[in-house]
Symmetry: C2
DNA sequence: TCCCGGACTTGACCGCAGTCAAGGCACGCG
DNA sequence: CGCGTGCCTTGACTGCGGTCAAGTCCGGGA
């Protein structure tokens, strides 16, 4: 990749360059974005976006990890997505033109590059290819949401199986007993990501273990019966 | 509105003209679409799209009503949306380029105008304003999906209250006792739309009635306490 | 007028999962 | 070495909601 020009922060430039919304944009346009961006550094736990606020800006994650979630009336959380460097934040509200539909907070110390919503529309208008990338991204988000809805309709062991299977597709390592994976987060965090609580997740692990489908050793899981896990995670038959 | 040219079906032309994805397209472009479209007439109950099929076409509803839903492993349905004349069908898969993420079936006899997925991309490339409309539509779909996820996290009486409130915003008529609305579908259908079954919906109606929040007379409901219904439907403070 | 079928309601039952409470286990610090 | 603090697990309880079964109401047809 082209290095950042000297007069902009290189971490900001790199994150913007990697953002999937405008892969096809020229380096000069990225530099312009980097110059226009308002850089914000936040501590762990900072609330970046509150549901219902009018959306006038969106951001790109420069460093750290952001979690996007919905807050139920009783304070219960529903996790939507986890964002890392290069991922766009709050772009939906920017494009839909209304209020933020969800909350975002930093789960690690983080740096964000904020841009005016209108900036994104200008990029789209200026470059057909960017329009295409934005449309693809949005369409894929909708597809992912249908998956989220699907998942929420399953019971917890099935949701867990689904997670294990999809994670195995990514980081699965064949081992002597089966396919070995690392959970990638604490079980408490996984419980939240699956829309449940640690106690129930623990029982779900126990049940899959009792049925000889998996073995659990701390944060590592060996999938003994991949077919059964895939089936439990509800007919995920695609590649 | 400009009438349809004589050499294309006027119902098809009208439905295409009203499609929200390309409001700004020229009449000539609509005529071209109408000519290119493959017209399909289906009976009530026909399955139009099956989840997992490769997406090579999308459609616009010319007449009738289409229901889009997800099918759980056990055959349980999750309703996503209901489409009428002028609404686009399966546009997500066309733009995401993969397989259909949901099923669609006709709930009444229906007529559809099918177009190649590539046709939509051509329209987008040819007209910046169309790109803008498509992006807005997609962004709003994502926002709506966050609402669906939110709703599924509520208990059934709250989901019902949410539906009643939103419907009241649309077709509510002030009456002597309160705001009167027509459910717009059978209670069995409403149960499915709310992700539950008739028995549970019936109990939810009974509970709201017992709490003096509504009165029910067949397919008509009088909302006695709009504030309470709005609050139950979970702090819907907008518009 | 009688009968039938479909929509809706009500009651009884039960399983899943969230909550509360009580432990077990590992790690780090004094 | 002992203790505290998270993280995880297990048990007991409860409430929501889906299922099964029965019963009511209403409109259409013979």
């Amino acid at each position: 990749m082209t290095p950042a020009p000297e007069h902009v922060r290189s971490d900001v430039w790199t994150a913007l360059r990697e953002c999937r919304l405008w892969r096809s944009a020229a380096d000069a346009a990225i530099t312009e974005l980097a110059r226009a961006a308002r850089i914000e550094e936040v501590h762990r736990g900072a609330r970046l976006i509150a549901e219902g606020e009018p959306a006038v800006e969106f951001a790109v994650v420069v460093a750290g990890r952001i979690r996007v979630f919905h807050l139920g009336a009783d304070g219960k959380r529903i996790a939507f997505e986890t964002l890392d460097a290069g991922d766009p934040v709050a772009v939906i509200a920017a494009l839909a033109g209304g209020r933020h539909p969800a909350n975002a907070e930093a789960v690690t110390p983080a740096i964000l590059a904020w841009l005016a919503s209108e900036t994104l529309w200008e990029l789209i208008a200026a470059d057909d290819q960017v329009a295409r990338e934005v449309i693809s991204d949005l369409a894929n988000r909708v597809v992912n949401f249908t998956g989220v809805v699907h998942t929420l309709a399953l019971d917890v062991p099935s949701r867990l199986a689904r997670y294990l299977f999809q994670r195995a597709l990514g980081v699965g390592q064949p081992s002597s007993r089966g396919l070995e994976i690392d959970l990638g987060m604490s079980k408490t965090d996984l419980a939240e990501a699956l829309g449940t609580v640690p106690e129930t997740l623990s029982r779900a692990f126990a049940r899959l273990r009792d049925e000889q489908l998996i073995e659990v050793q701390g944060g590592r899981v060996i999938i003994l019966d991949v077919r059964a896990i895939a089936r439990l995670g509800s007919g995920y038959s695609e590649g």
